[in-house]
Symmetry: none
Subunit: 430 residues, 2 copies
């Protein structure tokens, strides 16, 4: 049975800890991403606890509908690690203790000067005909079993052991077996448009543009639009570039990158390329803008510094807002934002100085509703002030205000919008 | 059909993004944890993509074996959001457009001065007989349907909307319906101890202390130790308090709270209670400390402000580090950390001024290895400097340096360690 193009895999995550809410599963997303690279589809995943009956049932179901079944977890040394036993029983294969695995286990413990518990011997048992997948950093070997021309794979649950085994042992075997066409992807990044407005603007394109599929994801307050094409690489990249040229006019003026990035990276890279320096005076964002920018490697070329002027006295002392302004207009005002931006620009000798002052809640100031934020931008001697209203809780308002401030800085410097030609036509660098 | 003690829930996570490896599911662990509190068991979870046939199949299977089925995701406004339609079809219930939901949607968009896209009207459709669960921060209402005496619940996928709906709408309904013995939990918070050292110190307690179970979780660089007891509330709280008194001596000097909190909240609350004001001068953390503190409601009582002195010129101009010091000792040095703390203290009139200067990487300065960070603390006229080495990538080093700075500030002010008596003996306030 040679499936030419798209084999279907099903995952089974084993472990009661998943159903008690005690762990967040990062293994499956990692594996799904790697399978996608090989053009292997995942239609379903099942999660079941350490219970033999339910595990056998899950496996039987998966075998009935998938070409490839991958179990994650349940390979530990204790009584409640049932994957080996349940797989052997379901597939009708006898389990035997592999003397070579026993020797390796003894060596593993000896080399670490640790005593091997007798229960560890369970990890040397494997179904007849199975192939051992090396565990580079733990005691549980992985297993690969051919059953009625379907691979059944068992992988250990600890994320480090899991990822290393997927990369070193599983991927080469899968790629040798499934000679399928890979998927090429490329991302566009948008800021300032809601998901439903985007849905409407692109209503004609959600079913795909020729062979290119289109999907959107919300990522920390921004939108990623991902295009994917399953085809030989050069052709796929060409198709995707064509699709981007078709989509771009519908995405204006929100499209700020034609590769996968985020606003903070875009600011640092674009300001650095033009030798521009940035500084901020932040009240309600409390340093979040500076911190987002400082997270980008190479930030020191661009980020001069920032003043977090949380207290009114800090506004006066650090960025020279006049006491008169604070008294007359209040800390959350057009005038204060203007003076903060001016003060920061004068103090810092940066090309662009951004200021933010607003109400993140929970309490308001009796004048403005929670979510009111004033932004000032000083750029090449000119200061402009913007008033915006954000919704949600304190964390959301602060995050959205920080993103807006970064986007506003890019816009003011004329560096926000991306044209399809800007992007690397050869696709995402990653 | 009245199940007296342990109803069984099954979760269905809907969304192709889960099977492409594009998101990590934090919703299910959250929900599983909350269901556990009510004594509701989760035996299985299914994950399926945005595909009507597979979603109906998953639902049919879940209904055949669980007492309660909860679907997560697929309630968005676009064509590939299929949960409403598939549930209605599988249960044989007609879908209708609820005029009240339409009105609410219009109001939601109007109040944000945004235009409502016509596809949003899909979110006003619901199966006959369903009950609406309020969405406090988004447009997709949740739904509760009674089907053959089994609740079928639909919840939105965005984590924030999801968690709020679980807490406010789902939990009260479930707890009213399933009168099981609740689980009382209480958390201890630790900072500065590794997970394996903790494992060793508590080796005698991991199997539980009487009826109290003990489990640890890594949370953003800190450790949460959670005690749980399934018993009538007053008794359970007493048992948990006793267990804490037994554990506490083994946790010194790392135990900083006997309730669930984090370092930033602890600093704001404890400094506020004593009328202390805080400020920071941050280089490699880039404002992350100020931003973590500003995230706590009530921060304005404590946080005076901060100077993000990323550029050397900012160190000189904002917090008066001498050019001589920068030339002789370098920006990453004991002496610079000391002058930054002194400068910040003088400029800010805060009780405690913290400084941070270090190398977060990727490149080093030719003198110190990446991960070297100097901290200065000025408290009541005395300045002390600490050198620490952190490992990991840039993001990890910056985060760990920020947490260390906050913990160091608490320690310097004599406000770090928690004794069991400090805690509210009645348990967590939440």
């Amino acid at each position: 049975m040679n499936r030419p193009s798209a084999p279907v895999a099903e995952l089974i995550c084993v472990g009661t800890e998943h159903l008690l809410g005690e762990v967040v599963d990062t293994n499956s997303p990692y594996l799904c991403g790697r399978l996608k690279e090989l053009g292997i589809c995942v239609y379903r995943k099942q999660v079941c606890g350490d219970h033999a009956g339910r595990l056998r049932e899950a496996l039987t179901l998966a075998l009935s509908r998938a070409d490839l079944v991958i179990l994650i977890g349940g390979l530990g040394p204790t009584e409640d690690d049932l994957s080996r036993e349940c797989v052997a029983e379901t597939l009708g294969l006898p389990l035997w203790e592999d003397p070579e695995l026993v020797a390796r286990l003894r060596e593993y413990f000896a080399s670490r000067a640790r005593r091997m518990a007798s229960c560890n011997l369970r990890q040397a048992r494997r179904p007849q005909g199975s192939v051992v997948l090396e565990n580079a950093c733990g005691t549980a070997p992985g297993l690969w079993i051919e059953w009625e021309n379907k691979p059944v794979v068992l992988l250990p649950g600890p994320p480090k052991e899991f990822c290393m085994m997927v990369d070193r042992e599983l991927m080469p075997r899968l790629s040798a077996r499934y000679q399928s066409v890979p998927i090429v992807t490329r991302s566009l990044r948008l800021y300032g448009i809601g998901e439903s407005e985007l849905a409407e603007r692109l209503s004609a394109f959600w079913d795909g543009i020729g062979e290119v599929t289109v999907a959107d994801y919300i990522k920390d307050g921004e939108i990623e639009l991902r295009l994917a094409c399953r085809m030989e690489e050069t052709q796929a990249k060409k198709k995707i570039s064509d699709a981007i040229r078709l989509l771009a006019p519908h995405l204006r003026p929100y499209l700020y990158a034609t590769q996968n990035t985020d606003l903070a990276h875009a600011l640092i890279e674009r300001f650095a390329a033009r030798g521009l320096r940035f500084s901020s005076a932040e009240s309600c964002t409390g340093g979040a803008i500076a911190s987002l920018l400082a997270a980008v490697p190479g930030a020191s070329e661009v980020l001069w510094g920032a003043c977090v002027t949380y207290d009114n006295e800090a506004k006066t002392s650090l960025v020279c807002v006049s006491e008169e302004t604070l008294r007359t207009h209040g800390a959350v005002s057009d005038q204060t934002a203007r003076e903060m931006a001016r003060g920061m620009a004068e103090r810092s000798k940066s090309d662009l100085a951004l200021s933010v002052t607003g109400l993140a809640g929970p309490g308001d100031d009796g004048v403005h509703p929670v979510g009111t934020v004033f932004f000032g931008v000083s750029f090449r001697g000119e200061i402009r002030v913007f008033e915006r209203h954000f919704s949600g809780d304190r964390a959301r308002i602060r995050r959205d205000a920080a993103l807006y401030g970064i986007a506003l800085s890019l816009q003011t410097a004329g560096l926000f919008e991306a044209l399809p030609e800007d992007g690397d036509p050869a696709g995402d660098p990653e």
